[in-house]
């Protein structure tokens, strides 16, 4: 059964002068899947995400969202189309509360962002949805806290909640578990697993436990190029992938056998 991909990349390339950060990456992400992008440091994963989201303009190639070519669209336009990213280093509104952070995304999504006279406090639709999202990622009791006062793990969670506030159809998570403790990572994994299938999730991650516990499809990048895309089992078994990570050394400990 063939369904149209949620996201298609066709020859996406980013050159900085003679530096080829991302070179001709093509791949498809099926709707509703949890698709991970892995690769050694410097593989170009975060740059790829920035190109997909539109934070960086591509040198060449196309990005197609649900059959629509969004390559020419700036980042904010792609976000309104449902393609939303989170940031590797939490990018929040530190002087606002957690609920206000999420509300910024929700209010735009609900079309209330131009409202100038009615106080936010009275806009129950926005606040309820924001609190709902905070609760779904486990921050219900911190909704009134300033984002600047949240712990690192809490900020990573809020980071995702803000993105969810836009009701995305394709969610790009950029190293969401970076800096999280084991317990926080486990909670985070469950949160992603609980996300509705209506949202297609793509994530860049270094934590391979998390990746193999979540992902249904895995793309491996190396030196800016697409190395392979396949099921977690195929990727684990691939010699090419293991060589990319560690050269030709013994890599039997690299990919744990059972992480789910």
């Amino acid at each position: 059964m063939i369904t149209a991909p949620a996201l298609e990349l066709d020859g996406v390339t980013k050159h900085y002068g003679s530096l080829r950060a991302v070179e001709g990456v093509s791949l498809s992400v099926q709707p509703g899947t949890r698709h991970a992008v892995i690769g050694p440091n410097g593989a170009g994963k975060s740059t790829l995400f920035a190109l997909v989201a539109g934070t960086l303009p591509a040198t060449a190639g196309r990005v197609v969202l649900h059959g629509k070519d969004v390559t020419g669209m700036p980042e904010h336009a792609r976000a309104t189309q449902g393609l939303v990213r989170t940031f590797q280093h939490s990018s929040l509104f530190l002087k606002s509360t957690a609920v206000e952070n999420v509300a910024l995304a929700v209010q735009r999504q609900q079309g209330a962002q131009w409202s100038m006279l009615r106080p936010l406090r009275r806009r129950t639709a926005i606040l309820e949805r924001s609190r709902e999202l905070l609760a779904s990622i486990g921050l219900a009791d911190r909704s009134g806290a300033l984002a600047g006062s949240l712990s690192h793990g809490e900020r990573r969670q809020l980071e995702v909640a803000v993105a969810l506030g836009t009701e995305p159809s394709v969610l790009l998570l950029d190293e969401p578990a970076a800096g999280m403790s084991a317990a926080e990572t486990a909670r985070f994994k469950q949160m992603v697993l609980d996300l509705p299938r209506a949202i297609t999730v793509m994530l860049v991650e270094h934590d391979l436990d998390l990746v193999f516990g979540l992902a249904e499809a895995v793309t491996v990048m190396h030196l800016g190029q697409h190395l392979m895309t396949g099921s977690p089992a195929d990727v684990r078994a691939s010699d090419e992938v293991q060589r990319a990570y560690l050269g030709a050394e013994d890599t039997s400990d690299l990919f744990p056998q059972e992480a789910r």
Binding site: T55, P74, V84, F87, L94, L117, L120, A145, G165
Partner: protein
Amino acid sequence: MRGRIGYIVALLALLSVPWVMGPYAVATVSKILVFAVLAMSVNLLTGVSGLPTLGQSAYFGVGAYAGALTAIHLTDLGPAQVVIAALAGAVAAALTGPVAVRARGVPFLMITLAIGEIAYSAAGRLDSVTHGTDGLSGIPPVVAAPGLAPTVNEGLVFYYVLAVFLVLFGAVALLLRSPFGLTLRGLRDNEARLKAVGYHTTAYALVGYVIAGAIAGAAGSLWASAQRFVAPGDLGFEVAALALLAVIVGGVGSMWGACLGAAVVIVARDYIGANLSGHGPLLLGVLFVAAVYLLPRGISGGLRQWRRPARKQEVAA
């Protein structure tokens, strides 16, 4: 709650001004209120949206001339003059804003500075409209509401200015608590993230800029009504710099701080400066330097530190 009491006390104090002060002092407080409105417009851009500006004097001037010309040729009804002046300020901001709003930070500051200077020289040159450097005089006294007599008495002028000030202060407070206000603060705090969640940030910056222009224009109309004279000096660089100083002294981001800062600046220039045999600018310069070194977060920031133990986060006004 402590904030509420502060507002009530301030309101009562203001209402009693014409009863406890002489005419010169009352006129000065009127000036302070007008300047406070201008400072609020500067704060809306600088403190709330993160767009530091030295050009609001341009829209203040547009509003002053628009209000004055309306008074001379159209109607002496105050509220009508204020509305027309605010519209004029908004239109001027809409025409000049797009160039400024593509920039951020220091380039934005520079562009607004240029806008202010150009408005100043335009005011001096467009003799047919503004009477050039002679200034626009013969502005009839304002009629505060239909049916009332023209306000000539300083006390009545003060109440008129106070009424408009309160309306504008309330409107700005509402704006800040609204979703759009949250958007402007988002623009200041993390524009990149705002874009990433779908906001075309330049559009919001422009709307904020136009609103600030309208507020500055309204302030200009009040100035014309209070002074009964408008000249290019009223929209020069010094005015823009004073307004910025007021915001810095009061605490960037805080509206009541901006109003308090306006009071400090006007009193310093007009009262203390006058006593220093006209070396007002010198005192102002010293104030700027002192404020930057000694009051890094302005008066409101200093007070917040002091009150911190008991306070809970609230949406700032």
